[in-house]
Amino acid sequence: MKKKKEKKSEKTGGNNAVSKKETAGAGVFLDISGLRYEYIRRDEENNVEGITTAVDDVSLKVRPGQFIAILGHNGSGKSTLAKHINAILMPAEGTVTVDGMDTQDAERLLDIRRTAGMVFQNPDNQIIGQVVDEDVAFGPENMGVPTKEIEERVEESLKILGMWNYRDASPNRLSGGQKQRVSIAGVIAMHPKCIILDEPTAMLDPKGRYEVIRAARALNETEGITIILITHYMEEVIHADTVFVMDGGKLKMSGSPREVFSRVEELKEMRLAVPQATELAWELKKAGLDLPDGILDRKELVKALIKCGRSDGRI
């Protein structure tokens, strides 16, 4: 769980996404193959009323240590997909293999849940302890970790998330971002290889969002934990190694953030947005300015505009 992976510095230029992928571990951590899942609605007599295919023939592979983002509108199947990764849901067709374990192998269920921990949207539904350190200890306690080691894990996890100073606090007195970091610390204390974050920032203010995303990136970069982030905030995925876009239960796009966010019109058709800076760049390009495709953030846009302004002799 200590620093085991070396990563290139976080720069937004060039083919960063590709180069980062090469530094991720070899092999396959998560292998989803031909996954299909249906929600079956039944009436009171248990007759089938309707079938909704939530995930439809999805195949994807994730390497150990990658930072993955999944985008898609509400009902696109992204949360259903995520729930297959730690065996909350079982495939109707196809297979999901996590770190070499088939999620349908009932004997490995606990191992799978330890390997891939999950953090949900609402921190208030996930915190059960009266005191922060007690809450973080809950997971390892349940796994039967010896008391001495639990203490070490709690300390380590809270320090990683920058919440060690709050170890004696009541979770009720924390901000949303702090509560969510405690939830993540609780997952980290179980020493997972992968964390799935299902819209972890949807209920947070800007500072809370920043804290949680920064924590997720730090876990990925310094601890080598594979991160699977589901979000509606486009700004949060620009540092991901690979972005997957779901629509109508199908996997519609995959690629680096730059590749995906170059396809502004297709994303809009799927009822998605692009980061604000990307959208502004796209509007300016449409109006005739000479800007590159796939601008991801404010720095890149300002840089491109300065270049453009200088060559025109306007600044």
């Binding site: 901000s175 949807a202 509606h232 009822r271 502004l280 404010r298 302004g309 600044i315």
Partner: protein, 288 residues
């Protein structure tokens, strides 16, 4: 002459009184809501926004100070607070968690029935409200739980609209919706203001949303109302907002950076459209 619909007058409130861990949630907060305005309310988690909005329709009584609705003190002993809750409609955060009736129609009828509308008026109001939020006829008899997240949110808003509020207070109405769902819902809320003249107070964590929508913006920080001004003026205080755990809209940051780099752009603009126009004017207009 402008008409004050609601006046918040020196509101103060503490949680945990007498427990030794007293915490001031509201500290001398005063403001007005004018008829037909769209006001945004921002503030970090725990800044007092939700406490404040609960006092505006008398769900929570302030320790000191009071609220006037159309000139009447709503915390007076004989004030009809039940009727007030129809006139000042409050849509909570994640309101879909509070749906409980068997059908969408019954759900939306609950509010008007509760404030004493007769059956016919209730049903007409519920019908109009469900149509108003853009739900189709098919959903009327469906259990609300079978709907998608965005649809449930609309049902919850309809059940407040059915009480025919004059002021609609929404606590983060778009939280958790996808980008298109947000846009749809926000433009529906804007229409309520524009077409029906409903006064809107919207709590939000999205600086971009309030920049696009609000006529006026109020900012709470640790129980105090620190800004109450046009969005453009409020967002010119970038550093102060950041200290409060807030931010300016992305467009403001981009324009400030461009201005610093020597571009002749207006850094007080806050929306995407305005940012595009000022940049285009500067990049393609006549050279100075």
């Amino acid at each position: 002459m402008e008409e004050y619909k609601l006046i918040a007058d020196h509101l103060t409130y503490s949680y945990g009184k007498g427990s030794g861990r007293e915490r001031k949630a509201l500290d001398d907060v005063s403001f007005v809501l004018r008829k037909g305005e769209f006001v945004g309310l921002i503030g970090h988690t725990g800044s007092g926004k939700s406490t404040l909005v609960q006092q505006l329709n008398a769900l929570l009584k302030p320790d000191s100070g009071t609220v006037f609705f159309e000139g009447a003190d709503i915390f007076e002993k004989d004030y009809d607070r039940k009727a007030l809750r129809g006139k000042v409609g409050l849509v909570f955060q994640y309101p879909e968690h509070q749906l409980f009736e068997e059908t969408v129609f019954a759900e939306v009828c609950y509010g008007p029935k509760n404030i004493g509308m007769d059956r016919k008026a209730t049903e007409l109001a519920a019908y109009a409200a469900i149509k108003r939020v853009g739900l189709e006829d098919e959903v009327f008899d469906q259990p609300p739980f079978d709907l998608s997240g965005g649809q449930k949110r609309r049902v919850a808003i309809a059940s407040v609209l059915a009480m025919k509020p004059e002021i609609l207070i929404l606590d983060e109405p778009a939280a958790g919706l996808d980008p298109a769902g947000r846009m749809d819902l926000l433009s529906m809320i804007r229409e309520l203001k524009e077409k029906e003249g409903i006064t809107i107070l919207m709590v939000s964590h999205s600086m971009e949303d309030v920049a696009e929508m609000a006529d006026r913006l109020m900012v709470m920080d640790r129980g105090k109302l620190v800004f109450d001004d046009s969005p453009a003026k409020v967002f010119s205080h970038v550093e102060e907002l950041e200290e409060m755990g807030l931010a300016a809209p992305e467009m403001t940051y981009i324009l400030r950076d461009l201005k610093a780099a020597g571009f002749d752009v207006d850094p007080s603009l806050i929306t995407l459209k305005d940012a595009r126009d000022t940049i285009l004017r500067c990049m393609t207009g006549e050279k100075a």
